[in-house]
Protein backbone atom coordinates (compact mmCIF):
# COMPACT_ATOMS: atom_id res chain seq x y z
CA UNK A 1 0.00 0.00 0.00
CA UNK A 2 1.33 3.39 -0.94
CA UNK A 3 1.62 6.17 1.53
CA UNK A 4 0.81 9.79 0.80
CA UNK A 5 4.19 10.85 -0.58
CA UNK A 6 4.33 7.90 -2.96
CA UNK A 7 0.86 8.52 -4.35
CA UNK A 8 1.77 12.18 -4.99
CA UNK A 9 4.94 10.93 -6.68
CA UNK A 10 2.95 8.64 -8.98
CA UNK A 11 0.64 11.55 -9.79
CA UNK A 12 3.63 13.74 -10.67
CA UNK A 13 5.03 11.05 -12.95
CA UNK A 14 1.67 10.72 -14.69
CA UNK A 15 1.45 14.48 -15.22
CA UNK A 16 4.95 14.49 -16.71
CA UNK A 17 4.40 11.57 -19.06
CA UNK A 18 0.94 12.55 -20.24
CA UNK A 19 2.15 16.10 -20.74
CA UNK A 20 5.06 14.85 -22.86
CA UNK A 21 2.73 12.67 -24.93
CA UNK A 22 0.32 15.56 -25.48
CA UNK A 23 3.28 17.77 -26.43
CA UNK A 24 4.44 15.36 -29.08
CA UNK A 25 1.23 13.84 -30.41
CA UNK A 26 -1.33 16.63 -30.40
CA UNK A 27 -2.41 17.97 -33.76
CA UNK A 28 -2.54 21.61 -32.75
CA UNK A 29 0.54 23.54 -31.75
CA UNK A 30 -1.22 25.45 -28.96
CA UNK A 31 -2.21 22.16 -27.29
CA UNK A 32 1.41 21.11 -27.62
CA UNK A 33 2.41 24.24 -25.72
CA UNK A 34 -0.09 23.45 -22.95
CA UNK A 35 1.31 19.92 -22.75
CA UNK A 36 4.78 21.44 -22.42
CA UNK A 37 3.56 23.49 -19.45
CA UNK A 38 2.17 20.33 -17.81
CA UNK A 39 5.48 18.54 -18.39
CA UNK A 40 7.42 21.41 -16.85
CA UNK A 41 5.22 21.35 -13.75
CA UNK A 42 5.75 17.62 -13.46
CA UNK A 43 9.51 17.97 -13.72
CA UNK A 44 9.45 20.69 -11.07
CA UNK A 45 7.66 18.20 -8.81
CA UNK A 46 10.32 15.59 -9.57
CA UNK A 47 13.01 18.09 -8.59
CA UNK A 48 11.25 18.58 -5.28
CA UNK A 49 11.27 14.81 -4.79
CA UNK A 50 14.99 14.83 -5.59
CA UNK A 51 15.57 17.19 -2.64
CA UNK A 52 16.25 20.15 -4.91
CA UNK A 53 13.40 22.59 -4.25
CA UNK A 54 15.43 25.53 -5.55
CA UNK A 55 15.67 23.88 -8.95
CA UNK A 56 11.94 23.17 -8.92
CA UNK A 57 11.24 26.83 -8.31
CA UNK A 58 13.67 27.84 -11.06
CA UNK A 59 12.00 25.36 -13.41
CA UNK A 60 8.59 26.90 -12.81
CA UNK A 61 9.97 30.44 -13.10
CA UNK A 62 11.99 29.93 -16.27
CA UNK A 63 10.05 27.33 -18.23
CA UNK A 64 6.46 27.90 -17.19
CA UNK A 65 6.87 31.61 -16.66
CA UNK A 66 9.19 32.69 -19.44
CA UNK A 67 9.68 30.16 -22.22
CA UNK A 68 6.05 29.06 -22.50
CA UNK A 69 4.89 32.67 -22.70
CA UNK A 70 7.53 33.31 -25.36
CA UNK A 71 6.32 30.29 -27.34
CA UNK A 72 2.70 31.40 -26.95
CA UNK A 73 3.57 34.83 -28.34
CA UNK A 74 5.45 33.24 -31.24
CA UNK A 75 2.45 31.00 -32.00
CA UNK A 76 0.12 33.99 -31.97
CA UNK A 77 2.45 36.07 -34.14
CA UNK A 78 2.93 33.42 -36.81
CA UNK A 79 -0.43 33.61 -38.45
CA UNK A 80 -3.93 32.30 -37.81
CA UNK A 81 -4.39 28.62 -37.15
CA UNK A 82 -6.15 27.76 -40.39
CA UNK A 83 -3.13 28.97 -42.37
CA UNK A 84 -0.73 26.88 -40.34
CA UNK A 85 0.24 23.54 -41.85
CA UNK A 86 -1.35 20.50 -40.29
CA UNK A 87 0.92 18.89 -37.76
CA UNK A 88 -0.04 15.38 -38.81
CA UNK A 89 2.11 14.43 -41.75
CA UNK A 90 2.04 11.21 -43.72
CA UNK A 91 1.87 7.92 -41.86
CA UNK A 92 5.14 6.79 -43.43
CA UNK A 93 7.00 9.72 -41.90
CA UNK A 94 5.32 9.19 -38.54
CA UNK A 95 6.17 5.48 -38.62
CA UNK A 96 9.80 6.24 -39.48
CA UNK A 97 10.06 8.75 -36.63
CA UNK A 98 8.42 6.24 -34.28
CA UNK A 99 10.90 3.55 -35.31
CA UNK A 100 13.87 5.85 -34.66
CA UNK A 101 12.45 6.89 -31.29
CA UNK A 102 11.69 3.34 -30.15
CA UNK A 103 15.10 2.16 -31.34
CA UNK A 104 16.91 4.78 -29.27
CA UNK A 105 14.60 3.93 -26.36
CA UNK A 106 15.55 0.26 -26.58
CA UNK A 107 19.29 0.96 -26.77
CA UNK A 108 19.30 3.41 -23.86
CA UNK A 109 17.02 1.13 -21.83
CA UNK A 110 19.60 -1.61 -22.15
CA UNK A 111 22.38 0.80 -21.21
CA UNK A 112 20.50 1.96 -18.11
CA UNK A 113 19.70 -1.56 -16.96
CA UNK A 114 23.20 -2.94 -17.41
CA UNK A 115 25.43 -0.06 -16.37
CA UNK A 116 27.02 -0.45 -12.93
CA UNK A 117 25.77 2.70 -11.20
CA UNK A 118 27.40 3.48 -7.90
CA UNK A 119 25.26 3.29 -4.74
CA UNK A 120 21.83 3.89 -6.22
CA UNK A 121 20.22 3.66 -2.79
CA UNK A 122 21.84 6.80 -1.49
CA UNK A 123 21.85 8.34 1.90
CA UNK A 124 20.12 11.61 2.61
CA UNK A 125 21.00 14.45 0.33
CA UNK A 126 22.81 17.18 2.22
CA UNK A 127 23.25 19.82 -0.48
CA UNK A 128 21.40 23.04 0.23
CA UNK A 129 20.77 26.10 -1.90
CA UNK A 130 23.75 27.75 -0.28
CA UNK A 131 25.95 24.93 -1.59
CA UNK A 132 24.67 25.55 -5.11
CA UNK A 133 25.63 29.21 -4.80
CA UNK A 134 29.06 28.33 -3.47
CA UNK A 135 29.66 25.83 -6.27
CA UNK A 136 28.54 28.38 -8.87
CA UNK A 137 30.91 31.07 -7.66
CA UNK A 138 33.80 28.89 -6.59
CA UNK A 139 34.56 25.91 -8.80
CA UNK A 140 32.21 26.66 -11.68
CA UNK A 141 33.15 30.31 -12.13
CA UNK A 142 34.19 30.00 -15.78
CA UNK A 143 31.02 28.22 -17.03
CA UNK A 144 28.92 30.69 -15.07
CA UNK A 145 30.59 33.66 -16.75
CA UNK A 146 30.35 31.95 -20.14
CA UNK A 147 26.61 31.44 -19.63
CA UNK A 148 26.18 35.11 -18.80
CA UNK A 149 28.15 36.02 -21.94
CA UNK A 150 25.90 33.68 -23.95
CA UNK A 151 22.77 35.30 -22.57
CA UNK A 152 24.09 38.79 -23.37
CA UNK A 153 24.87 37.68 -26.93
CA UNK A 154 21.40 36.17 -27.31
CA UNK A 155 19.75 39.37 -26.01
CA UNK A 156 21.74 41.48 -28.47
CA UNK A 157 20.94 39.01 -31.23
CA UNK A 158 17.21 39.12 -30.50
CA UNK A 159 17.29 42.93 -30.52
CA UNK A 160 19.17 42.94 -33.82
CA UNK A 161 16.66 40.51 -35.35
CA UNK A 162 13.78 42.73 -34.28
CA UNK A 163 15.49 45.84 -35.68
CA UNK A 164 16.23 44.22 -39.04
CA UNK A 165 12.70 42.96 -39.41
CA UNK A 166 11.38 46.47 -38.87
CA UNK A 167 13.88 47.97 -41.33
CA UNK A 168 12.89 45.66 -44.17
CA UNK A 169 9.24 46.63 -44.21
Amino acid sequence: MMNFAESIFVLVIFVTMIGALVTVLSGSIIYAMIGLVATMFGIAGLYVYLNAPFLGMMQILIYVGAISILIAFAIMLTGPHYKRPKEWTTTVKFAAALVVSLFSFAILFKVIMHAPWMNTKAKAFTVSTEAIGRALFDKLMLPFELISLLIVVSIVGAIMLALFSRGEK
Partner: protein, 103 residues
Protein backbone atom coordinates in the same frame (compact mmCIF):
# COMPACT_ATOMS: atom_id res chain seq x y z
CA UNK B 1 9.87 4.31 -4.31
CA UNK B 2 11.11 7.82 -5.01
CA UNK B 3 14.50 6.88 -3.56
CA UNK B 4 15.38 4.96 -6.68
CA UNK B 5 17.70 6.18 -9.42
CA UNK B 6 16.11 4.11 -12.17
CA UNK B 7 12.71 5.82 -12.06
CA UNK B 8 14.27 9.21 -12.76
CA UNK B 9 16.48 7.77 -15.50
CA UNK B 10 13.46 6.20 -17.18
CA UNK B 11 11.52 9.45 -17.04
CA UNK B 12 14.49 11.24 -18.60
CA UNK B 13 14.70 8.54 -21.28
CA UNK B 14 10.98 8.86 -21.97
CA UNK B 15 11.31 12.62 -22.39
CA UNK B 16 14.28 12.13 -24.74
CA UNK B 17 12.37 9.69 -26.93
CA UNK B 18 9.27 11.90 -27.03
CA UNK B 19 11.53 14.79 -28.04
CA UNK B 20 13.19 12.77 -30.82
CA UNK B 21 9.78 11.68 -32.12
CA UNK B 22 8.46 15.23 -32.16
CA UNK B 23 11.62 16.65 -33.66
CA UNK B 24 11.46 14.18 -36.52
CA UNK B 25 7.81 14.41 -37.49
CA UNK B 26 6.60 17.89 -36.56
CA UNK B 27 6.16 20.16 -39.54
CA UNK B 28 6.17 23.63 -38.03
CA UNK B 29 9.37 25.09 -36.66
CA UNK B 30 7.72 25.93 -33.35
CA UNK B 31 6.76 22.29 -32.86
CA UNK B 32 10.39 21.29 -33.36
CA UNK B 33 11.48 23.91 -30.83
CA UNK B 34 9.01 22.58 -28.24
CA UNK B 35 10.40 19.07 -28.76
CA UNK B 36 13.92 20.45 -28.21
CA UNK B 37 12.76 21.79 -24.85
CA UNK B 38 11.59 18.29 -23.91
CA UNK B 39 15.02 16.82 -24.72
CA UNK B 40 16.84 19.48 -22.69
CA UNK B 41 14.57 18.85 -19.71
CA UNK B 42 15.29 15.15 -19.84
CA UNK B 43 19.00 15.93 -19.73
CA UNK B 44 18.54 18.26 -16.76
CA UNK B 45 16.51 15.67 -14.88
CA UNK B 46 19.30 13.13 -15.44
CA UNK B 47 21.89 15.55 -14.12
CA UNK B 48 19.96 16.16 -10.90
CA UNK B 49 19.21 12.46 -10.43
CA UNK B 50 22.88 11.49 -10.77
CA UNK B 51 23.85 14.29 -8.43
CA UNK B 52 21.33 13.06 -5.88
CA UNK B 53 22.14 9.38 -6.01
CA UNK B 54 25.76 8.89 -7.01
CA UNK B 55 27.54 11.85 -5.42
CA UNK B 56 25.26 13.36 -2.79
CA UNK B 57 27.79 15.69 -1.16
CA UNK B 58 28.39 18.28 -3.86
CA UNK B 59 26.17 20.42 -6.07
CA UNK B 60 27.72 20.19 -9.53
CA UNK B 61 24.84 18.39 -11.19
CA UNK B 62 22.31 20.91 -9.96
CA UNK B 63 24.55 23.77 -11.10
CA UNK B 64 24.73 22.27 -14.58
CA UNK B 65 20.95 21.97 -14.63
CA UNK B 66 20.82 25.70 -13.96
CA UNK B 67 23.22 26.20 -16.88
CA UNK B 68 20.97 24.08 -19.08
CA UNK B 69 18.01 26.27 -18.14
CA UNK B 70 19.97 29.40 -19.10
CA UNK B 71 21.03 27.89 -22.43
CA UNK B 72 17.44 26.81 -23.13
CA UNK B 73 16.15 30.32 -22.44
CA UNK B 74 18.73 31.91 -24.75
CA UNK B 75 18.05 29.31 -27.44
CA UNK B 76 14.30 29.81 -27.25
CA UNK B 77 14.64 33.59 -27.52
CA UNK B 78 16.90 33.45 -30.59
CA UNK B 79 14.98 30.64 -32.28
CA UNK B 80 11.61 32.33 -31.85
CA UNK B 81 13.03 35.59 -33.20
CA UNK B 82 14.30 33.75 -36.27
CA UNK B 83 10.96 31.95 -36.67
CA UNK B 84 9.06 35.24 -36.61
CA UNK B 85 11.47 36.68 -39.19
CA UNK B 86 10.93 33.61 -41.41
CA UNK B 87 7.18 34.06 -41.08
CA UNK B 88 7.43 37.72 -42.07
CA UNK B 89 9.52 36.86 -45.13
CA UNK B 90 7.86 33.68 -46.42
CA UNK B 91 4.40 33.86 -44.74
CA UNK B 92 4.65 30.31 -43.41
CA UNK B 93 6.69 28.37 -40.85
CA UNK B 94 6.67 24.98 -42.53
CA UNK B 95 10.05 23.37 -42.11
CA UNK B 96 9.88 21.40 -45.35
CA UNK B 97 9.12 24.40 -47.54
CA UNK B 98 12.17 26.42 -46.50
CA UNK B 99 14.32 25.78 -49.53
CA UNK B 100 15.91 29.13 -50.17
CA UNK B 101 19.00 28.61 -48.03
CA UNK B 102 19.39 24.97 -49.04
CA UNK B 103 20.50 25.37 -52.65
Amino acid sequence: MYNNLYIYLFIGLFLLCCGILGLLYRRTLIGMLISMELIMNGAGLNFVAFNRFTSPDNAYGMSFTLFIMGIAAAEAAIALGIIILIFKKFRHIDGQELKEMKD
